[in-house]
Symmetry: C2
Subunit: 247 residues, 2 copies
Amino acid sequence: MIEAARRHCESYYTRSVPADGQIVITGAEARHIARVMRRGVGSVMTVVDGIGTEYQVELTAVKADRVAGRVLSTRVDAREPGHRVAIAQAILKGDHMAQVCAQATELGVSRVTPFLCSRVVGRLSSPRLDRLRAVSLAALKSSTRTVLPVIDVPFEFDRLLRLSGEFDQVLLAYEDETRAGLGAVLNRDAGSVLVVVGPEGGFDPAEVDALKAAGAKSFSLGPRRLRAETAAIAAAAMTLGLLGDLG
Amino acid sequence: MIEAARRHCESYYTRSVPADGQIVITGAEARHIARVMRRGVGSVMTVVDGIGTEYQVELTAVKADRVAGRVLSTRVDAREPGHRVAIAQAILKGDHMAQVCAQATELGVSRVTPFLCSRVVGRLSSPRLDRLRAVSLAALKSSTRTVLPVIDVPFEFDRLLRLSGEFDQVLLAYEDETRAGLGAVLNRDAGSVLVVVGPEGGFDPAEVDALKAAGAKSFSLGPRRLRAETAAIAAAAMTLGLLGDLG
């Protein structure tokens, strides 16, 4: 299993598509193959395109800025969940957004949408967003996923309300909801679910009303007070689990 | 809600029991009340004993090394889960044990048992164990729990096997289990569940056999490879959720 883990960790990412049975890897991924892993011509490795395709590739040319290989086999959507489960997470301070993006990617979440609302105190600068995407890519590789979750640019709250229409069900983790747990409100027939989690200080009641008016169903995660990142990961795991996508 | 959050965060911990209607707080907690929060005589605050009792207390004496107060009211087991869900986690490197202890405490886990097995590479020194307990105490306060989870000294693997007997059901997160998810194996009538999660490199097959012989049921968390800390928190959330203790 340690061997298996090592193999798993050594998958590479490329956005390029094969042409004439050859695939090309550039940038940091190429440098890693050539300089860190010191792979040579003839090496066989796993390459994923982040949109569901996984290739077994035999290297035919290795330079630090460009690695090329012959595609031996192709597999689509391996190990991906059958449902689209997305998290809309109010922007959090510190490294908590990175934790949400990493763990959500591992679990099989399809998309993380950072958003602004009245009690958000952090900001998501462009370098921070780049870091979230890098963290998600690293989690894709360690988890052996083949689809890279979309990490959105921060949404204004109004845009979050409109996003609701893209999902079969929208669930709102709400600390003042005391009646229904996630299991009671989740529609098991939904093909796509958006889970909305607020900022550290909670939602403004007017925002909760707006989300509910846009179709969101609120649910409780129990009487204890969860940190936002714990709520996001717990809700994502429970949703994927109840839909049959986590075991 | 921001006000509520602020109040929630300001609860204090004492192991002392009231005598003649007075309760005493010492050590770091007393310093925090006197020096950081600058609470004075007459202030009212929440004090928890970590074994299920929550007191409303009116301060009668405030010194940096000793704070005393009159107990106004007493409440038992508020906001605590109805089931004992514990995590046995093979010792992890870096700060991952702290993450497991913090998030497990928030979610309502009753106990975290770090253990040794053949592929454990980290060590849990006494200062590191102290830190895990401090992290868990901080999470107790932020989550408004009243029971402080037990964070055990590291168990040898043989002792982990004997621990199984203290729980109605023992579940083993096992990456080579492909048939049954957590929802399929969890006994909904169990009053206590121990969830066992291996180290970064996975269990040795002989350890899996030994755990199964001791009564553990293995379950899958899906075809993706989860980091151990993500597996622990996902499994804890799913178990508490399915038992009705998370909303």
